[in-house]
């Protein structure tokens, strides 16, 4: 891509894709922006009128909003911690030579291929159900009272389900990073008198920072928008105990028929996501250079 000519050609070639992507994004975004300033309720069709910042005011002062914001942060951070720590440990385990390695690796990746809705339903009905679930059976087998996960610890349960889905992704990325670690570096550290723990802390972890950055960036983007798992398990409840911003927007616009309020929520979510993105880029994006 050195010459002026090839640069122009390159721009020309990618322009259709860029323009399409841009329209794809800008049309819904501007319509949402437009709706967010309207009094637009599906129960009162034809009564739309301009209301200024009212929708934003109501959305932001709704007590459900601060609850949803906290839940969103807890969900994202909780899943990130579990998947990164668990992913590193699993990757270390899978990097050891053992019998049946190939099959075990495929099995570890498997949860990633299950659709969120399906896996959440399986968790809800087969594992966490207080009457028929596996965990309830085990608890009764041990002579304990079955625990109703989804109503007593709804957010923690959802964090568990989502973390289970994303653990394979983190493991996979971290495993490939681990395999690219120069063997001679490890041997040099061994000769330098570093214990297994020292080697992990001083060689492996620094080597993995870049991969961990990638995992954190990609997962954060997806985790901000977790929806299906909440919809099929708790419906955001009890109360707002497991409502995140995405679910709140859905509840506002489709359960309350308030398209204007929902749109305002959507715009707020976009703004928040961008703030998070800027922070992430600032804090860990620099790991990707060098």
């Amino acid at each position: 891509m050195a010459t002026q000519h090839s640069k122009t050609a390159a721009r020309l070639m990618i322009s259709p894709a860029v323009i399409l992507l841009f329209l794809w994004m800008i049309v819904p975004l501007s319509m949402t922006l437009y709706f967010s300033f309207l009094r637009y309720n599906l129960l009162m069709p034809g009564m739309e009128s301009f209301t200024g910042w009212d929708n934003y005011y109501y959305f932001l002062t709704d007590p459900a909003f601060s609850a949803a914001l906290t839940n969103t942060i807890l969900l994202v951070v909780g899943v990130l911690v579990i998947t990164v720590v668990g992913g590193v440990l699993l990757a270390l385990l899978l990097d050891q030579p053992f019998w049946g390695q190939g099959i075990v690796r495929v099995l570890v990746i498997a949860p990633f291929f299950v659709m969120p809705t399906v896996s959440a339903l399986v968790w809800k009905n087969m594992f966490m159900n207080p009457v028929n679930g596996m965990f309830a059976h085990i608890a009764r087998g041990l002579g304990l009272q079955p625990f109703d996960f989804l109503s007593q610890a709804p957010l923690a349960s959802i964090i568990g389900i989502v973390a289970w889905q994303w653990l394979p992704f983190a493991t996979l990325i971290l495993l490939t990073a681990l395999q690219s670690l120069d063997r001679e570096q490890m041997e040099a550290a061994e000769m330098d008198g570093a214990s297994a723990l020292d080697r992990f802390l001083h060689i492996t972890v620094p080597h993995l920072t870049r991969a961990i950055t990638v995992v954190v960036l990609i997962q954060t983007i997806f985790l901000l928008g977790v929806f299906a798992e909440i919809l099929v398990t708790t419906n955001g409840g009890p109360g707002t105990a497991s409502t995140n911003i995405t679910y709140l927007v859905y509840a506002q616009s489709l359960l309350n028929y308030d398209v204007g309020g929902g749109s305002a929520g959507g715009i707020v979510a976009v703004v928040l996501a961008n703030i998070v993105a800027i922070f992430l880029m600032r804090m860990i994006g620099k790991n990707l250079d060098a």
Binding site: Q185, E187, A188, A189, E190, M191, D192, A194, P206, H207
Partner: protein, 332 residues
């Protein structure tokens, strides 16, 4: 400090026997070079001594103690890898200090040793850089620095100069030799390079398929190769090996004569031949001469000997420089 003894050491990788059985004594303060063709087990032998591989059988003694089962860190040896194996996320200073930090040494002592090593190796201006910002030669010096700060009983080098360009290689060769003379520590050095082996070694160990073919000082190997393999391996260009009636005249199955021990003349001599390729190196000229009934002979002559392709020349081997080998390949 730094006497290493191998007794009946064997190494197998599954079915493959890489080192059948090997005995070797390395004296304190010696510079020992392992040479041999690719895949003959030089690196494996070095890694066995380092403790990075387990021996399949036999015993390794370091300073009289049995080190066969010791982990690498306990053996008191330092290794410089071919790929340097520097820690990319640490500065030069941290790289060099790493073994000392792992040994839980006092910070002042670490500081003192690191700056001392940096001075010896001319790295003082680069201490705050990362390995990625250094040239090959500088990286090599950092790797050596990381080895010397530990004050090990012996240094192990696995082809440390093979990634450097020719000029830098000559430089580093001198620096390592100088380092050996000032530290007086045992050094074991693996190389492919004839010149490195001949110039640096106190003792050369010639390996072939995991077996020791000959051990001796560079000049011993040059003057009295014990067998055909060593004769063909040591010396550059290679010794000319001649079989058949010409060898029978000397009562041997094979005779060998080095290119530098053949006299060249336009008028008279023992063998007459026709010049093929001539390689002019400036100071020397290597002629490839075709003589009837013999393989192509390489002859070294002065840089100014003007011959052309197809010229007829006479060759005379210096009688006292002819090596004779028996049917089993051993020197007679």
């Amino acid at each position: 400090m730094g006497k290493i003894t191998l007794r009946n050491v064997q190494k197998r990788f599954g079915e493959a026997v890489v080192i059948p059985s090997l005995d070797l004594d390395i004296e304190d303060g010696e510079f020992v070079v392992f040479v041999g063709p690719s895949g003959c087990g030089k690196s494996t032998l070095l890694r066995l001594i380092a403790g990075l591989e387990d021996v399949s059988d036999g015993q390794i003694m370091i300073d009289g103690r049995d080190a066969t089962e010791m982990p690498p860190a306990k053996r008191g040896l330092a290794m410089v890898f071919q790929s340097y194996a520097l820690y990319p996320h640490m500065t030069v200073k941290k790289n060099i200090a790493f073994p000392l930090r792992m040994a839980k040494m006092e910070p002042q002592e670490i500081e003192r040793r690191v700056s001392n090593a940096a001075k010896i190796l001319n790295l003082t201006n680069y201490l705050d850089r990362r390995p990625g910002q250094l040239s090959g030669g500088q990286r090599q010096r950092v790797a050596i620095g990381r080895a010397i700060v530990r004050e090990p009983a012996a240094f192990l080098f696995d082809e440390p100069l093979s990634n450097l360009d020719a000029a830098l290689r000559v430089n580093m060769r001198l620096e390592i030799t100088e380092l050996h003379q000032s530290l007086e520590t045992t050094m074991i050095y693996v190389t492919h390079d004839q010149v490195e082996a001949m110039t640096m070694a106190d003792k050369i160990v010639v390996l072939n398929a995991g077996r020791i073919e000959q051990v001796g000082s560079p000049l011993t190997l040059y003057r009295n190769p014990a067998n055909l393999f060593v004769a063909g391996f040591i010396g550059s260009p290679k010794m000319n090996l001649i079989e058949g009636p010409e060898a029978a005249k000397h009562g041997a199955t094979t005779i060998g004569i080095r290119p530098e021990h053949i006299d060249l003349s336009r008028e008279t001599g023992a063998w007459q031949g026709e010049v093929g390729v001539s390689e002019h190196l400036g100071s020397d000229t290597f002629l490839h001469v075709h003589v009837a009934g013999m393989p192509t002979l390489t002859v070294r002559t002065g840089g100014e000997f003007g011959v052309h392709h197809g010229d007829r020349v006479w060759l005379t081997p210096q009688a006292d420089k002819i090596h004779r080998f028996g049917a089993d390949g051993k020197a007679l």
